[in-house]
Symmetry: C2
Amino acid sequence: MNRSLVVDGLEINNWTRPVIDEVRSGGVDVVHATVGVWEDLAGAMTRIGAFRHLVRNNADAIRIVRSVEEMYTAADDGVLAVVLGFQNASMLGDDPEMAGIFADVGIRVVQLTYNIANHLGSSCYEPVDAGLTRAGHRMVAALNDAGVLIDISHVGNVTGRHAVDASAHPIAITHGNPASFCDKARNKPDDLIHAVAARGGMIGCTLYPLFIGGSEITRRQYCEMLADLAEAVGVAHVGIGSDAVLGWAPDALGWMRSGRWDRPVDSSEIPDFPPWPDWFDGPKDFPSLAEGLTEVGFSDADRAAVLGGNWLRLYREVFGA
Amino acid sequence: MNRSLVVDGLEINNWTRPVIDEVRSGGVDVVHATVGVWEDLAGAMTRIGAFRHLVRNNADAIRIVRSVEEMYTAADDGVLAVVLGFQNASMLGDDPEMAGIFADVGIRVVQLTYNIANHLGSSCYEPVDAGLTRAGHRMVAALNDAGVLIDISHVGNVTGRHAVDASAHPIAITHGNPASFCDKARNKPDDLIHAVAARGGMIGCTLYPLFIGGSEITRRQYCEMLADLAEAVGVAHVGIGSDAVLGWAPDALGWMRSGRWDRPVDSSEIPDFPPWPDWFDGPKDFPSLAEGLTEVGFSDADRAAVLGGNWLRLYREVFGA
């Protein structure tokens, strides 16, 4: 159980067999895969059903897992292990019992808000963040009870800090970077990152182009950011959450970002997926990232921790709770 | 694991603490409890959540179970074991993956149709029963795969017979009587009962007044029906499914029978719950039923089988599959 696995802390792919094979080609053993962003309860269950159907038809290549033990078994069997998660709490509605119900069908990670405020708290894009609501506190407790990892990647900083403090278990920024490295609303201030780490949580650094400063950034610059972060908060709290967006048609980005609430009114407003750096064009390039970590001085052990071991430690602590 | 448990094969109560205590007062160890009749996916999940909340608040008295082993553990712990089920497939929609998803959240019994025809087949009240549909065949296979017991109590006779033949596992009439005993559309013809039994399934004889000929029937008459049935199909295929309706306000019956599709147009059409026989006014009177079985000549072993052992055998065979 102590050998190293490669874990991508968040991908939001449109999963098909070619996508599965592309991810596996990067030596990735475990992916936390988003299966809900703007859905309601029924829509989210339907997406989980669709993912199960994909797995049924590709059982030689991919498997839904619910524990670290199952991740190791999947790796032994040579199949990609997928942890299912939501990037929103819309599907939970106002019912804390839905935390356990979704956990029972395999959901192991839930982000409290996506790109807009909801009944639990504020997103990172709101002008005012009033923090975790009363229902938010109840839902955090229910997610804790259900062994679901709480994610604050798109959550507002006040709400996120409240979640760190309210949660009985460590929480995660599954895909985000320090704002001190790239100043965007989606990236996180140092104090929040430190609070997450101090409680035993993780920051999964993203490679999504908008949050690293664009595709021109070099591998060395990115990996030096990881080294600085490991120095600041402890290497045990740093991982990767690539935010890979494989397999989507270009028009999917509008849905992904804005769902129904802010649909473009003319075609010039339809966003395009941004270009990725040539040294990391998706999870197939995890070996390139590994080289970069070595180049900036990570030991083999620390490199293995950042590329997967730290996620496994957090998953074991939270999922097993 | 060989001692006897008392199992009620179907109750459709409005569960509260007084109802739980009333059921327990009859020495009932296990109840298959209906938690969905007319709901869609989200509505059904919400009802499961509400039942979980009830259990959370009454953990000293009731527990949701998913296996026969858990039923025995619950009995050892002195709490009522509840198997969750639906009396309709409306919540599964057209998606066979929902069979496994609902199984994961505890659903162990699904009736293919309720009181109206649906996408899977016909109810017992339709003028024409075209049998199990193409989607019905797919859903039967999915329910088999998920270890869910298929119930045909309210299903049309042609559809029900198709389900017996299509199912890889035995199926059940969880709450219904021989039509030869009481001639109602909800009761079953002998050939269907024999087919269910021949495949290893069960008929759970109901005590719902409309399907025993009214509250005037005597205990001896009812128990002689059970003896005749055991003689005809084998005692191993006979059980009890009381169809208890505890805890409901009078106006609930309209919803229960007709949902939204056939709401009464004036108040004179609102149905009333019928009176029950004085010797069985609900699951609290299981001891009376036990006495009646002895009176008509059931051995102690056969009586224990009819009062629970046979359900446990079927549950073990299907849930474990």
